[in-house]
């Protein structure tokens, strides 16, 4: 099996994933994915046109609960792990110019 390079623009995908990669990481991942895709391409051997997709394996449909208000997490507990907050809000760096 040859490790053909795959059709992936890693910089673009990393942008979609909001994940900064170094050049070394990007190059290493590209080589590793080329190897992995020698397996993944095996899926192209199968004719699956008429096969339904399985997203989950248990016979569950939409699950509804009773429309009753119950206590939820206290605000202080919800904010307790936040890196930064102000009053009742999570605080982030600026979002808009």
């Amino acid at each position: 099996m040859s490790n053909k390079p795959i059709d992936m623009d890693i910089a673009h995908v990393a942008k979609l994933a909001r994940l900064a990669l170094t050049d070394d990481e990007a190059a290493q991942f590209a080589a590793q994915f080329a190897h992995l895709f020698t397996y993944i391409r095996q899926l192209q051997e199968l004719d699956v046109d008429t096969i339904p997709a399985t997203a989950q394996v248990i016979p569950l449909r939409n699950v509804m609960r009773d429309d009753i208000v119950t206590p939820s997490l206290e605000r202080d507990a919800a904010l307790g792990n936040a890196p930064d907050w102000e009053g009742p809000y999570f605080r982030t760096p600026r979002i808009l110019e």
């Binding site: 992936m8 909001r18 994915f33 199968l46 997709a53 394996v57 997490l73 206290e74």
Partner: protein, 490 residues
């Protein structure tokens, strides 16, 4: 240490107190930690407090439950309210959840004493425990080798005899492979059998919690304690929870056990010594009265490819929540919020997690979704149908759990695909959602390996029944002692 059910008997009869048992477990762990590093934190004060309350209840004539006074370790993927819970990641190094996982609450309701949080591959991504951000765990059978993963800390501490029971999670083999490597019993229940509430998510259509124990009976008891519907997890199934101990049996008369030629071919190519061991195991099952039948699973050879599209896709979505806003690490920047996201995630995640986020984001991205993710979901249907067909011809499938015994630390870290191949025999059951267990099956080159037993959905009792008969007849786990072990075992 003895089995959990024996400890419970002794505690209930007041031959030993829960506090004494807890202190002994803590002492054993502390003595072995320099060698094994199985834990990310010990909950000593909390455990002793719970043990003393339990002793008072027993003195007052109360029966605190099927795990009364039994020390139990939990993988650090389960939230314990107020205690640091990291999932093996730097991004959660200081995270203290405001609530506990349902599985943890149910263990405590059954009388278990939660003793500590065990090491794991970061976000359960790995097969060796070497992807932990906090250092690797070692195998009690040979500390130069891995304990398996991702539930490696749980497997190591049970294998060494420090605690009789631990909780693990399994997405593609993360309970069964380390159980096999550390000579213990590891059960991945049916998807939906155990609530995932408070269990940090990796791949939500595959993740499932289960017991890792020194003996089959403890696995049955522990599953009984944690199983059942939970309104806080909409994917937990409202299916009756039987008495799993009632199905434990000592013969296999009338049981049809399926042997899978596709798996046998793969193990024969991987390691002839392993193939020979499994042939002996199947003969042992036949000697117990089982009828061996050949069943085909023609699509399991596509399991690895299918899994390495579906699991990374789901992980890329689940791990989007680690953005430095509501909890976890934040890398401060004087630039905008997007730069903060990218820098936080770059600093907080390790290489394997980054690799899977990139792979999963790619598989879901515009232009590639149909070719990769959707196609993988369709092949998942074919794999599930293979199991449905097989279980019209047999009650339980017997197969290898792993293709080799525990490997040396560092042997596979440079080659992700070699690491992924460790889960060749366990991934198909995860994709099909069916229950599967690894039980000690003997030794190859003086290292333990496990036999995998798989049943139809919600047939854990049948799987445990076969495992019990095999365990009682062969006694593999008791026939040798690990190199690193608790003093109480010596």
């Amino acid at each position: 240490m003895r089995c959990g059910h024996e400890i419970r008997e002794a505690v209930i009869r007041r031959q030993v107190s829960a506090e004494e048992v807890t202190r002994a477990a803590l002492a054993s762990i502390e003595a072995l930690e320099p060698t094994l590093h199985a834990y990310l934190c010990l909950l000593a004060e909390r455990a002793l407090k719970h043990a003393r309350v339990l002793d008072q209840r027993i003195a007052a004539g109360d029966d605190p439950g099927p795990l009364a006074g039994v020390p139990v370790a939990v993988k650090d993927i389960f939230c314990v309210a107020g205690e640091v819970t990291t999932a093996g990641s730097k991004i959660l190094a200081n995270f203290r959840p405001p609530y506990s996982a349902t599985a943890v609450e149910r263990l405590e309701a059954a009388g278990a004493i939660i003793i500590g949080k065990t090491n794991m591959d970061e976000f359960a991504m790995g097969s060796s425990c070497e992807n932990s951000a906090f250092g690797e765990t070692r195998n009690p059978w040979d500390p130069s080798r891995v304990p398996g993963g991702s539930s490696g800390g749980s497997a190591s501490t049970v294998g060494a005899g420090s605690v009789p029971i631990a909780l693990g999670t399994d997405t593609g083999g993360s309970i069964r492979e380390p159980a096999s490597f550390c000579n213990i019993v590891g059960l991945k229940p049916t998807y939906g059998r155990v609530s995932r509430y408070g269990m940090i998510a990796f791949a939500s259509s595959l993740d499932q919690a289960g017991p890792m124990t020194g003996c089959v009976r403890d696995a049955a008891i522990t599953l009984g304690a944690i199983a059942g519907h939970d309104p806080r997890d909409a994917t937990s199934v409202d299916e009756p929870v039987p008495d799993f101990c009632a199905g434990l049996r000592t013969d296999l008369n009338g049981i049809r056990i399926g042997i899978v030629p596709e798996f046998e071919e793969h193990i024969a190519q991987s390691d002839p010594d392993m193939a020979a061991l499994y042939r002996r195991a199947y003969e042992d099952l036949r000697a117990l009265g089982a009828q061996l039948v050949e069943v085909h699973l023609p699509h399991v050879r596509y399991g690895l490819a299918t899994y390495y599209l579906i699991a990374p896709a789901e992980c890329s979505s689940n791990l989007a929540r680690y953005d430095g806003v509501r909890y976890g690490l934040r890398v401060e920047t004087d630039k905008d919020v997007y730069t903060m996201f990218e820098q936080t995630r770059a600093a907080g995640f390790g290489p394997e997690v980054k690799r899977r986020i990139i792979l999963g984001t790619y598989a879901l991205s515009a232009g590639y979704y149909d070719a990769y993710y959707l196609r993988a979901q369709k092949v998942r249907t074919l794999i599930k149908r293979d199991f449905d067909d097989a279980f019209t011809q047999c009650d339980v499938i017997a197969s290898p759990a792993v293709s080799c015994p525990a490997f040396a630390l560092g042997a596979k870290t440079a080659d992700p695909v070699a690491m992924y191949l460790m889960d060749y025999f366990t991934i198909p059951m995860s994709l099909a959602g069916v229950p599967a267990l690894s039980v000690p099956a003997g030794y190859v080159r003086d290292l333990p390996v496990g036999l995998q037993l798989t049943g139809p959905a919600f047939a854990e009792a049948g799987v445990l029944g076969v495992a019990y008969a095999y365990e009682q007849a062969t006694g593999h786990a008791q026939s040798r002692r690990p190199a690193v072990m608790a003093a109480a075992h010596r």
